[in-house]
Symmetry: C2
Subunit: 406 residues, 2 copies
DNA sequence: GCGTACAAATTCAGTCATCAAACTATTTGG
DNA sequence: CCAAATAGTTTGATGACTGAATTTGTACGC
């Protein structure tokens, strides 16, 4: 049983509102009649629901549609570009990013701040985030749109029930009550403020904005400084019980391998993480303070067929393959999407990765596994964070639909 | 969006019926008033719903409750022991089991047939199953109860959308359309006939009948001939996209380890499976045709503090720990339940297993992991299969609640 | 140029499940 | 023996959907 409460007519309304709004979202420009046909609701019901959404400013009633044949033309419905926006923030290791995204998923404005990497105190970090949110809210006001909520992406383990950041090794943060702190500092108290893991949100961004409406099941691997993953199943994130899911960085791919900072041995991150790959390829170490772009260097070497670079990357593909095989055997997902750094390395990783998958995945015989590079760039996580808010609205628009004055 | 269809009043009824029935199921002997209080529904609504369930024979109106204090006594409601039963079947390697389970989860009758291990053709196997189902149906008729559906547990990969058994190495079966075949052979066409993986169903059995109503999140490891797992999250099985989830038998715990029949190297099953542990402990090989009980032998040696046996089992615990750490890092589950063979070995496995978990699980620092032996015996999978049917009824009783004649 | 066929959208009565509140039934405490 | 408390039923109101009829708008045929 879905431990949910009692249902009443309002529940029906809620459900159908979401259904109609999502239908409009996935197929822009539908008429009321087509929405009715697609959803199985009556034209009358759809009209009633759509009217409320129009008065609430979530949907706009465009001009008449273009269609051949006789009969009256329907009016094209679309998500309102001036409806509530999602505000996404990403707390990166050396950047702080922010984006305003409208209901259709389009990025309206985005900022990226270079910040002092590491060594930042929690206090500094939080006030920087609060400032940025304030800036974005001002911008939203200038654009004349409201902010429907704030989503925050963090490179660490976030307890979903409390919004507590348990551990973010790359930031050097531990046990920071992000949700409470940011509510207080940003003054966002009457709208959702969501905090989530950066890799998970990047996965969701890929789902929503990656142009793969057909693919509703995949693992999105995002290799930035650490390695994380987002498991997307049936078009929804699978975050695990407390929200710590998808932590593939410390899957043990070689129990006899080199020791890792986490205490284990032969962790994926230690063997196929950015630092490990660059080192194995012989790329000079990146200075701690940022600046040097080892990845560009590596890509150059790969294009020049540098032997060490090629070996380093194909080896990484092998380790990644072992880890992904584990993931697929465990949660049975047919597609691997390579994001972050791995997206750019995909051409060179691909063959060894696929070879390991074919060999190790129990179901590979009759259900081949697809490997694809992500189409989103480094902004995936911010977009995911903002999109999270937008999704929340589309999936439950009821709070925005004030009762009609009648 | 939960790609579900339109909602109407009937949807509300459905939801609330399930809610009320589940409330009665989890707390036997409640009165209508208490159900109303717990669910948040009105007394009037609860009365109306309960009445339908009583006329449908799902619920019985017991005598007045015993309670101190003033006020009228309520009438105790319980699940009807003569309501529809779940019929579970387990196709094992050398056994064929079957059980009739009532709505409360009690096993009413159960059979176990020893059958020729392996070498059985699909044809033979299927007709044996059909015969057994026929037998059980006859018994149900004799008891005067109806069969609400049939659940079948198989040691192999079952595609959940089609009920196709893709592969069952230990049976030697491949690509058997179990669902269609069994529908045809058993004549069960108007009631659900569900086919699922044995390890997954054992996990569900642990959830429903293991007396752990509080624990709604765990991995259940069942080590019989092969090693499988059931991931239970928020009180529901997580079967993966196509139903092949939980295949931990071929997680690679040692990439440089011995080759496995699956083509990989150092698979968990190869290192910590029953055969491997027995061999490492120096227990004489079990004859192919069954008979010898190597496990009893092993347990004897363990109690006698036999060095080889102890090392074999603690090593297995270590391998299992590596695999479980991967599982937990990936899907973030706080509890490991050891079922099947491992339940009996738990006292000896425990410490090395826990040690690996503590070391490798990223979240172990602030969220300790519990390890517990299963309380269910070898009948777990059959019970799970039967319980699956019962759950289906409790979670959607509507089909059984014929409209009142009024 | 005009009527007819056709499709979109709205209107309105009907249905149905919930709720709130009043009412009946039962039991205890004073 | 009555007042207070609790269980369960009855009744009318509310709200959301449906289905059919109606209105509005567009194109095609003559």
């Amino acid at each position: 049983m879905n431990q949910s409460g009692p249902a009443g007519q309002h529940t029906v309304r809620r459900h159908n509102s979401a259904l109609v709004l999502n239908t409009i979202a996935t197929a822009d420009g539908l008429s009321r009649a087509s929405v009715a046909a697609r959803t199985g609701l009556t034209k009358a019901t759809v009209s009633s629901l759509v009217d409320r959404m129009i008065t609430a400013g979530l949907v706009v009633d465009g001009g008449p549609e273009h269609r051949v044949g006789r009969g009256r033309r329907g009016t094209a419905l679309s998500l309102s570009p001036t409806g509530p926006h999602g505000l996404g923030v990403e707390i990166g290791v050396d950047t702080l990013s922010c984006a305003l995204v409208d209901l259709t998923g389009r990025v309206r404005v985005s900022w990226t701040l270079e910040v002092e990497p590491r060594g930042r105190t929690v206090e500094e970090g939080l006030s920087q985030v609060a400032d940025l949110v304030g800036l974005a809210q001002a911008e939203a006001a200038r654009l004349g749109v409201s902010v429907g909520g704030v989503g925050v992406a963090v490179p660490g383990l976030v307890e979903s029930s409390t919004g507590l950041l348990r551990s973010a090794p790359n930031l050097g943060w531990r046990d920071v009550p992000l949700h409470t702190e940011l509510r207080a500092r940003t003054g966002v108290t009457d709208r959702p403020l969501l905090v989530g893991n950066e890799a998970n949100l990047a996965g969701l961004a890929e789902l929503w904005f990656g142009g793969r409406e057909d693919r509703r099941d995949f693992v999105h691997v995002s290799g930035e400084i650490g390695i994380g993953a987002g498991l997307v199943v049936s078009g929804e994130l699978f975050p695990g019980v407390r929200g710590f899911g998808g932590e593939i960085g410390h899957l043990s791919v070689d129990p006899a391998g080199p020791p890792c900072s986490c205490g284990g041995r032969g962790c994926l991150e230690r063997l196929a993480g950015r630092a490990a790959v660059l080192a194995a390829a012989g790329v000079p170490a990146e200075p701690e303070g940022g600046g040097g772009d080892g990845m560009a260097d590596l890509l150059g070497r790969l294009r020049d067929h540098d032997a060490a670079a090629l070996t380093a990357v194909t080896d990484a593909g092998r380790w990644l393959g072992i880890a992904m095989a584990d993931v697929i055997n465990l949660v049975d997902i047919p597609t691997v999407v390579l994001g972050g750094t791995y997206a750019r390395l995909e051409p060179w990783l691909r063959s060894t990765l696929l070879a390991e998958l074919d060999r190790r995945v129990v179901s590979s015989g009759w259900a081949p596994i697809a490997v694809e590079p992500s189409v989103l760039g480094s902004r995936a996580a911010v977009q995911g964070a903002a999109g999270w808010v937008v999704r929340g609205i589309l999936d439950d628009p009821e709070p925005f639909l004030v009762g009609p004055p009648t």
